[in-house]
Amino acid sequence: MMMNSPESKGNLTQKDALLRYRSADTAAGARPLAEGTTGTSRTHKDIRPVPFSGLLTNKLLTALPGEDFARLLPFLEPVSLSINEDLYDFGQAVHEVYFPESAVISHLYIWEDGSTAEAALIGREGLTGLSAIFDAPALPCLTQAIIPGTALRMSVEVLRQEFARSKAMQRLLLAHAGIRILQLSQRAVCNGRHTVIERLCSWLLMLHDRVGDDQLLLTHEQIAHHLGTRRAGITSAANSLRDGQIIKSSRGQIRIINREGLEMAACECYRTLGQQNLTAALP
């Protein structure tokens, strides 16, 4: 039934698109690039280890029984993720997982014409690298931080051993897969049925939940890349939220000044996508 295509054409065109996407953006200066970059995003090889703050906020890790967590602790390495930094090489096997702390990570899809859209948004309620733990091929997308910050990095091998050994870890990772499916399903219907302004509100709320800061460093261009819409649409939606005293929008940043108003303007999807709701689904 399903065909197994031996050709690697798909990957090549996707890589071409990736390059075009990067160079177009850099030329226009549209996306703020990470410090020290010279036109291409930094790759995971450059990700900086940082001292551990001592405050553990990732919900998957805090939900583990003390004994299980103690076993993992020596293998968790705190790192700092810059904006638009690729955590994995595109299309390559995944060797590390990241448990976000203050960083928010996004799965960004790229088409042949260079346009993009985001599928999953992963913050402190989850982890990246599920494909490797489940022994499946990597997703055909980029994994990047949309909000820079810290995460805890760990080798896939260690987590796979832990998955086989600890029932608690198994239940948590399976529940996380369920949460991922729930988030994605809601975003699929949201993208198909809801207006740009509703989607923008839900998305800003999702980020706000995960970041815990009213100030989000995002350009309209970046938001458009993630929501899969035109920049003009984002600008006009942001302007009407600004006129309604819900956000302040200035060059390269958005400040949420009326969270309640933002919730009112969001579509019903936020009720599913809210971090509270997603975390409540953990065992």
Binding site: A119, F134, V189, N191, G192
Partner: protein, 236 residues
């Protein structure tokens, strides 16, 4: 020594066929063949799933519904998968599962699925790989719905359906089509007729015939070749 005969797959379901004979035989007495009818609902949101279905000749869609009664199809499951993933992942179901092509499934009690999964082995691996394949498929629906034209999306769903149903002619309800495209029922025929005008399909009152599979593959949005054409790679 007697060589194991693997020319004949153990099951028409891809996940079960991937099992070593020993694991399959342990499950077999618990697999109950059931007949699924068109538009039958297998479960609704918030339901606890007591049985899962390993599909053999039927096709089931997963729909996320909205408060106003509209919704969108987010996933399609055929003989490559199983329906009722919340039995594995925990919690209750969050989607509506509806039979879109009548046929057979192998029904398994949720507690037996869980017990067998805990043993590890190939069954666990097959279920985990399928879970990720479903994540891959739904992710593609998210980004496709954000950007792609309705005709390209129809071509993608028709190819996905064709891959799973195994016949060139099939029936799709208007409601299913409206929900897979995110349009009103009234616009469904008009969109299908545009593909018909290109001689890619024949469409009459809900009955589809795939006339030019290759042409559909060329016309579909990139989401089909990116994930679905390679769906095999995602499966055990």
């Amino acid at each position: 020594m007697v060589m194991e005969d693997r020319t004949q797959p153990l099951s028409e379901n891809r996940l079960l066929a991937a099992l070593p004979r020993e694991e399959y035989e342990r499950l077999a007495p618990h697999l109950q063949p059931v007949s699924l009818t068109l538009s039958q609902t297998l479960f609704m949101p918030d339901e606890q799933v007591n049985h899962v279905h390993f599909l053999t000749t039927s096709v089931v869609s997963l729909l996320t519904d909205l408060e106003d009664g509209t919704g969108m199809e987010v996933g399609l499951i055929g003989p490559e998968g199983f329906v009722g993933i919340s039995a594995l992942l925990g919690g209750s179901e969050t989607k509506v599962a509806t039979v879109q092509a009548p046929g057979m499934s192998l029904r398994l009690q949720a507690d037996i699925l869980q017990k067998e999964f805990s043993r590890g082995g190939q069954f666990q691996n097959a279920l985990l790989r399928y879970t990720h394949a479903l994540i891959t498929q739904i992710s593609q629906a998210v980004v496709c719905n954000a950007r792609h034209q309705v005709e390209g999306r129809l071509a993608r769903w028709l190819l996905m359906f064709h891959d799973r149903v195994g016949t060139d002619e099939f029936e799709l309800t208007q409601e299913f089509m409206a929900n897979m495209l995110g349009v009103r029922r009234a616009s469904v025929s008009e969109i299908a007729e545009r593909l018909q005008a290109m001689n890619l399909i024949r469409y009459q009152r809900g009955r589809f015939a795939i006339l030019n599979r290759k042409g559909l593959e060329e016309f579909t949005c990139e989401c089909y070749p990116k994930v679905e054409k390679k769906f095999d790679d995602f499966l055990p």
